[in-house]
């Protein structure tokens, strides 16, 4: 059985992730308790809100330490969604300079208007160009549309952490991976068929 801990750190939007995990055959637990995170087979860190608030909330609950033990230490499969992906970075600038979890080298910066792409936040469906054939995108392939809603993006220092890119505002990284640590800037829980496929792929990691 796949027990999926959905990390509750006061940044909302947990119900749609919980429902999507359920639809994809996992058993979701929305939690901020260490014992739930220790027994989970998979961990999802969702999130809507600013980088600074997100990191503060994680630290207040000691979740940064607990997550490090489980994800970096015990190598439990991990998926960060939106802000949850951004917080993997070493540093973010939303709400002021703030240290992130630091599991992926890079910084989270604001999208900058480029050419025709001047409307920020970037809200809506957009293509995700996948690098190679990673298992997370199994059966989905490249150039499918996922749903985005964000103003900031994770700029990676190492090319080998980049799992996918999306061409908006000069292009940004829309998925990352380092081992079993995965992150997506888009919202699979709101991306219907392709989103559910991605979540099922994550559950089979």
């Amino acid at each position: 059985m796949k027990t999926v801990a959905i990390v509750d750190y006061g940044m909302c939007n947990l119900d749609s992730v919980r429902r999507a995990v359920e639809e994809c055959g996992g058993t979701p637990i929305v939690t901020d308790r260490a014992e739930d995170l220790e027994t989970a087979t998979h961990i999802i860190l969702p999130g809507v809100g600013s980088f600074r608030d997100g990191m503060q909330n994680l630290r207040q609950r000691s979740l940064d330490v607990i997550l490090r033990e489980q994800v970096v230490g015990r190598q439990i499969p991990f998926l960060g969604i939106c802000l949850g992906m951004q917080m993997l970075a070493a540093k973010g600038w939303e709400g002021g300079e703030t240290d992130g979890l630091g599991w992926i080298d890079g910084e989270v910066r604001k999208l900058e208007p480029a050419g025709e792409d001047r409307r920020i936040p970037h809200i809506g469906w957009n293509e995700v160009a996948v690098v190679g054939n990673p298992p997370l995108f199994d059966g989905i392939g490249s150039a499918k549309d996922f749903y985005f809603a964000h103003s900031y993006h994770l700029s990676c220092r190492n090319e080998h952490d980049v799992l996918a890119r999306t061409s908006y505002c000069g292009g940004f990284v829309s998925a990352v991976s380092r081992g079993q640590i995965l992150g997506v800037q888009f919202h699979p829980e709101k991306s219907q068929r392709v989103g559910f496929r991605l979540l099922r792929n994550f559950l089979s990691v």
């Binding site: 119900d15 639809e23 600013s50 936040p121 809506g124």
Partner: protein
């Protein structure tokens, strides 16, 4: 994106924010739109503010549980706590309307707390005889003497993430969007503007995207009362050279 308007016990659709007709149940509509893979859904409780009701969090919770697409919820949203609770039960974005005029400062608080991407300001505007436009609040019943362009700029500066712009006199008529209104607002702000009110054909959608510079289009009557569907609309728009998801 289809718009669902809720009043009393079921879905309704009117003309010019009036003459409401029953058009079925919410859950039925959501199930159909899930199957048809619509891009987003807008759910507005149209009489919440005029009835002085807060949002119906329980109904939104039930609706959101079955809605696997981005969901914008509006109607009666006035406080930061309303937004928090709606996001908690599964809404992705919140639409505010009356409070954007009565107490615009709350938009800044909402955007700071939850991010601009989930704060949609819904602006209902009506054309005056002299071809200027006026914003109405309270589901189109209260005139404000505000110009939609300046209101859109004000809420953008406060941190709103999107504008849902509805033409009151085009609403439910299916004669086409108010392209002029949409263009004026779209050119004045750099956040996305969703055109609403008047869609009757796929060509109307292409027109307001092209000439009105809208980022997205919403429609209700044409999906409730005609054979036209969101997937066909998207195929049409793709053929016309617009970037849409199929």
């Amino acid at each position: 994106m289809p718009t669902l308007l809720f009043k009393e016990v079921g879905l309704v659709k009117g003309v010019g924010f009036n003459a409401w007709r029953r058009v079925g149940s919410v859950m039925q509509a959501v199930t159909v739109y899930n199957m048809r893979e619509v891009d987003e859904l807008v759910y507005l409780d149209v009489t919440a503010t005029t009835d002085k009701r807060p949002p119906d969090f329980e109904s939104v919770d039930e609706l959101a549980d079955e809605c696997f697409m981005p969901l914008t919820v509006g109607g009666g949203v006035r406080t930061v706590d309303d937004v928090r609770r709606l996001l908690q039960v599964g809404a992705d974005k919140i639409a505010v309307n009356t409070v954007a005029v009565d107490n615009p400062a709350v938009i800044r608080e909402m955007a700071q707390r939850f991010g601009s991407q989930c704060v949609v300001v819904s602006i209902d505007a009506q054309r005056r005889a002299d071809r200027t436009y006026e914003v109405f609040t309270h589901a189109g019943t209260v005139a404000t003497d505000r110009d939609p362009v300046s209101l859109a700029q004000e809420v953008e500066a406060l941190g709103a993430g999107e504008i849902l712009l509805t033409s009151i006199e085009r609403d439910g008529t299916m004669v086409g969007y108010d392209v002029e209104l949409t263009r004026r607002v779209s050119e004045a702000v750099s956040i996305p503007v969703i055109a609403s009110g008047g869609a009757g054909t796929y060509a109307h959608m292409a027109e307001v995207l092209r000439d009105g510079r809208a980022s997205a289009v919403a429609a209700a009557s044409m999906f409730h009362f005609t054979e036209q569907t969101p997937p066909e609309a998207k195929r049409y728009l793709r053929e016309q050279g617009f970037r849409v998801r199929l």
